[in-house]
């Protein structure tokens, strides 16, 4: 019941918000209530455990469409927290953004009720992806997330955002279409399925035996398809465009929650891999993972757009998460104990990336440009934002005491030697590239290099509050985790 509620509530609110035309304050209240109710649902789901366990799984005897297992609970919690932060931020951010950008000859932004309607529907469809226990339903829901998040990208209705939206729609839809093909082949590869079996239900699939050759084909197609949505190189081309053109909180949600949602689909397929082809699938995931980190490294080092840099950093982390998944799920039972490490990575990446994207949105508002060269001396012009920005970059590059340090450490320790060394070198490159940007933007005197802006707009406190609170939370968690590690 709770599971169904957490999917349905956002959709009901989406409908209600749509009818709040010209009543912006009501729309704002409704979206806040939707976010709060969803968070409440998630808390209740984690409290009311089935027989004292966290797991309310659908079984073969009773195949249900929705259910939770550990990974879906973790990602659902992340999504809910992120959405709450992003809605609160958007309430302060949108009026400021509209005021600052109105005078520069921009076209009229999307009306607030439509924007919040899509936001709420986005939350609902993401919850559906996460809680779905049926691979076809997962597909439907992931396609739905594309549909409701595409309009969010062109909030400002600029030419560039339209272009980004078209690329996102076309590339992701074709990708997800290929994943549907993969899902069909997966069903086809089941050995000895009787008529009327719940063939797409995860509980059934976990027990089923597969024809290895067909499963290989299914895995490759599904991997390519959902990998497109997850932003893995070489299918990542839509991601930097969409993430850099979207307004701050949409970028934060796209990067922090949506990529996790596509990851869950790949995770479901990886869980089912039969032993005969485990090493093939593992090598494929290693290759794509390393390629993602490499592409991200190359593009981060010579980047002159700080939002694109963050987008490439998401590509990098998705690659790392993929490598970790390959290690955890495909190298025998004892490695499955490392699963919590994977969850730490998901959580830490989502929170840090959200904070960074919200901060990047603020810098963009103040300076009116995304060029890295235009921003100098953030410590002097915007002290709080400057500190959050530098700390965020510090944490996302996995410098201890960052939470991301532990997953990356375990990755390098447990991966095969070639994978470990390559990843480590690439991680250093990413670290150098991002730190370079962080130091260049925060230090120095405003206007000391050509093309940098000396007098950015002043931003009200409300806009800075949400990223500041998120960063404070992250810093406290990181430091606590660091000390716990020492004394444990």
């Amino acid at each position: 019941m709770l599971l169904y509620l957490s999917v349905i509530i956002p959709f009901i609110f989406a409908l209600a918000i749509y009818f709040c035309k010209n009543r912006d304050s009501l729309a704002r209240k409704l979206i806040l209530i939707a976010a709060a109710l969803h968070a409440l649902c998630v808390i209740l789901i984690s409290c009311f455990k089935n027989n004292g366990k966290l797991v309310i799984e659908s079984t073969i005897e009773n195949p249900t469409l929705l259910g939770t297992d550990t990974i879906s609970w973790v990602i659902l919690a992340i999504t809910s927290v992120l959405f709450l932060f992003c809605t609160i931020h958007s309430i302060a951010w949108i009026p400021v953004a509209n005021k600052l950008e109105a005078g520069e000859g921009h076209s009229k932004p999307m009306s607030l009720n439509v924007f919040y309607c899509f936001m709420a529907a986005f939350l609902g469809s993401m919850s559906l992806v996460i809680l779905s226990q049926n691979l076809a339903l997962t597909w439907v829901a992931i396609e739905a997330t594309t549909l409701v998040s595409a309009p969010l990208i062109c909030f400002h209705r600029t030419k560039a955002s339209l272009e980004a939206m078209w690329k996102y729609l076309l590339i992701c839809s074709v990708g997800i279409g290929i994943a549907l093909f993969g899902t069909m082949l997966l069903v086809h590869s089941i050995v000895g399925a009787a008529h009327g079996d719940p063939i797409l239900n995860l509980a059934y699939l976990r027990e089923a035996s597969f024809n290895a050759g067909w499963f290989k084909a299914a895995f490759i197609l599904a991997f390519a398809g959902y990998g497109t949505k997850m932003g893995l190189a070489p299918f990542h081309t839509w991601l930097p465009d969409a993430h850099s053109e979207a307004p701050a909180m949409v970028s934060a949600l796209l990067s922090g929650s949506l990529l996790n949602c596509s990851f869950i689909a790949i995770y479901r397929f990886t869980e089912l891999v039969p032993v005969e082809i485990a090493s093939f699938c593992q090598n494929l995931m290693f290759a794509i993972g390393i390629l993602s980190v490499a592409v991200a490294g190359v593009f981060i080092v010579k980047q002159n757009d700080f939002k694109r840099m963050l987008a490439y950093s998401s590509v990098e982390h998705m690659g790392l998460i993929l490598i970790m998944t390959a290690i955890v799920l495909l190298s025998g039972e004892e490695k499955k104990l490392l699963l919590p490490i994977l969850f730490i990575h998901l959580f830490a990446h989502s929170m840090t990336k959200m904070t960074l994207f919200l901060t990047a949105g603020n810098i963009l508002l103040a300076y009116g440009t995304r060029a890295i060269t235009a921003v100098r001396g953030l410590y002097k012009t915007m002290p709080t934002t400057g500190k959050i920005w530098f700390l965020g970059i510090f944490l996302i590059t996995a410098c201890p005491p960052s939470l991301i340090f532990y997953p990356e450490f375990y990755l390098v320790m447990t991966a095969p030697i070639f994978v470990a060394i390559t990843t480590l070198i690439l991680l250093f490159i990413v670290f150098a590239g991002m730190m370079n940007v962080g130091i260049r933007m925060t230090n120095g005197i405003p206007g000391d290099i050509e093309g940098s802006i000396t007098e950015p707009h002043k931003l009200p406190r409300g806009v800075i509050a949400t990223p500041a609170i998120a960063m404070l939370f992250l810093a406290i968690v990181s430091i606590l985790a660091f000390f716990m590690n020492f004394f444990a």
Binding site: K159, M184, D305
Partner: protein
């Protein structure tokens, strides 16, 4: 008898594939897509084994809704978007029309050749569903790659989607009613949003050539905001 009618439907779908990649007038393309959509939507009714029982209500609803959406609703939507953009033809495709016909023939031949090795259980329904599905998927992807206008790309996507649903029908997947409708709804909304986007792109850029949508990219310092 039944098998023959499936083969006729599949032949129609293959013919629409060939005609679509070879025609330059967009209205014509949309009409052909509508025919293909109706054929694909009604395919499950032809695959059904009529000798034992009549199809279930669920099957009737999904096939008719499918044919209605893909054959009537989406073409109307797309032709509306097209009328607003005042573009009648795809004049300079990236691959010329005669070359396109040649390529689609190669795609069809390859699909028939490779589907020999995919000994699907579809063989007991009709052994031509898998090759038709693969050719339609290939033709759809080819349209997306080889054509410039955003609207032709949307048509290519519809073809691609049709191909996937033919494949699903051929291997006899049953998703269940809710999910079946969910997939349909997704396709409907997707093409709807694509139509609106085409309209908006046309208004902002005064063209719908997707190859000229190249403002975004890395290292393009001069064009940054």
């Amino acid at each position: 008898m039944i098998t023959n009618s499936i083969e006729i439907i599949l032949a129609i779908i293959l013919l629409t594939d060939i005609v679509l990649v070879a025609s330059s007038r967009l209205f014509h393309c949309i009409k052909i897509t509508a025919i293909q959509g109706i054929a694909v939507g009604l395919l499950p009714l032809f695959i059904w084994d009529w000798s034992n029982s009549t199809p279930t209500l669920q099957l009737w609803i999904t096939s008719i809704v499918n044919a209605g959406i893909k054959g009537v609703l989406l073409p109307i939507l797309l032709s509306k978007a097209m009328r607003h953009s005042s573009i009648k033809r795809e004049l300079e495709p990236l691959v010329s029309y005669s070359a396109s016909v040649f390529i689609i023939l190669i795609i069809i031949t390859a699909s028939f050749y490779f589907s020999q090795f995919m000994n699907a259980p579809a063989t007991d329904i009709c052994r031509f569903t898998t090759p038709t599905a693969l050719s339609t998927i290939g033709a759809g992807l080819f349209m997306i790659i080889a054509r410039k206008k955003a609207i032709t790309q949307a048509l290519g996507f519809l073809m691609f989607e049709n191909g996937i649903s033919i494949f699903g029908n051929g291997i006899g997947i049953e998703y269940g009613f809710i999910i079946e409708l969910g997939i349909l709804l997704d396709v409907l909304v997707l093409v709807f949003i694509m139509g609106i986007t085409v309209f908006n792109i046309n208004r902002e850029f005064s063209h719908i050539d997707s190859d000229r949508l190249n403002q975004l990219g890395d290292y393009d310092h001069s064009k940054q905001k």
